[in-house]
Amino acid sequence: MDEVRRVLPLSRSLLHLLLALQEGARHGYAVKKRVEALSGGVVKMGPGTLYTTIQRAEELGLIHEAPERPPQEEDQSQRRYYELTELGREALAAEVERLGTFVDHARAALGGLA
């Protein structure tokens, strides 16, 4: 739990990255497309943002390169695939919990507006 507390709060880019990888291993560009889809097209990660975020997540131990690649028909050999580590899953869950609490407090402060 100490490890998780050390990486919180997650930056917006890290949160999006972990959310996109929560569904399974993806390569960088697939992460970008998934983040766009999850955010309704609002968040568009450029190549620099995407890979500095991936680099950061690798350093923090939140993701790592997937040892097993997807089935051949989906595979693109020149690309690396990334997946969540155990710490990454725990950090994502803790961050979502933290944000949920924040949103609950915010709603209460706004007089129960949904």
Binding site: V7, P9, S11, G46, P47, G48, T49, T52, G61
Partner: protein
């Protein structure tokens, strides 16, 4: 097989600004992402391509700090994390959140500027003029007020001018100099110099240069050293009522330009104003008053 999009060369140049460690690990993927995004933008036409480049440039500018910070974090190790099990965790997420905010602010500013190119141009031109004029003024202030004169005792050196009727500031004559030398008690020593021009008449490399005829004690008065060789002796100076003399000292600039700073210049014969002279030394680069030699 992917077609190389126009502008990929520029993007490769931009990538070179990222830390080497980052490039080594992610460059191929960055290029791949760049090409894929370009294809999508190209499909949308001119507007799509313009938005693509705006996005790429803002993204590049906004991630410079993050990439560097990560590179430093890895290079420096994990201070304060001794005993932590599992994967290395370089820093807490708070810094990351802070940098993310900075990046977003930067991107917001960049996008705002690109939306109003006229304003951006005026703002950039204003900054450029302001910075340029500040640098120029500081250069003058520094050289005039802050930099000490290139003499051994700059506080104790003065220039004496003469004054005639109708000429409030004029050169000192040789007679006046001699009078000062014998009668003045205010100065420890006095040197005299006169500016002129001479020509190196070497047929292979003729050159007209500024020159100074000086008394033998000038370098002692100014407390400056010679770069190579020596200055004139009293005997040599007394032989020369006026230019041309038999021996010359060349300035640092002339020494570097004509003789490539060859220390063997001393004792060499040089043709000047149609006669051979012996070079006895060179002045230092520090001393601007002697640059006309």
């Amino acid at each position: 097989m992917s077609i190389r999009p126009p502008g990929e060369g520029l993007y490769r140049v931009l990538l070179r600004t990222y830390p080497r460690r980052f490039r080594r690990r992610y460059e191929a993927e960055l290029l791949h992402a760049f090409r894929t995004q370009w294809r999508e933008a190209d499909y949308r036409g001119r507007g799509g391509r313009a938005r693509f480049w705006r996005h790429v440039l803002a993204d590049w500018a906004g991630t410079q700090v993050a990439a560097r910070r990560s590179a430093r974090g890895q290079g420096e190790g994990n201070e304060g994390r001794t005993g932590a099990a599992g994967p290395a965790v370089p820093q807490t997420g708070r810094w990351e959140v802070g940098m993310d905010t900075v990046r977003q602010d930067f991107l917001f500013a960049f996008r705002s500027l690109t939306r109003a190119p006229g304003f951006a141009l005026v703002a950039i031109a204003t900054l450029a003029i302001g910075i340029g004029s500040n640098a120029a003024i500081f250069g003058v202030v520094r050289s005039v007020l802050m930099e000490p004169l290139p003499y051994g005792e700059p506080d104790g050196v003065v220039t004496i001018w003469s004054r005639w009727r109708g000429f409030p500031k004029s050169w000192v004559s040789l007679s006046e100099y001699r009078a000062y030398l014998t009668q003045s008690r205010s100065f420890e020593d006095l040197g005299l110099w006169s500016e002129t021009n001479v020509t190196f008449t070497d047929p292979e490399n003729p050159e007209r240069v500024g020159a100074v005829a000086a008394t033998e004690n000038l370098v002692d008065v100014l407390r400056v050293d010679m770069e190579v060789g020596r200055f004139f002796t009293r005997e040599e100076a007394s032989r020369a009522d006026s230019l041309p003399t038999d021996v010359i000292v060349v300035s640092h600039d002339v020494w570097v330009r004509r003789w490539s700073a060859d220390p063997g210049i001393v004792g060499r014969s040089v043709e000047m104003n149609g006669r051979l002279r012996e070079v006895i030394g060179t002045s230092t680069s520090r001393c601007s008053c002697l640059e006309r030699w």
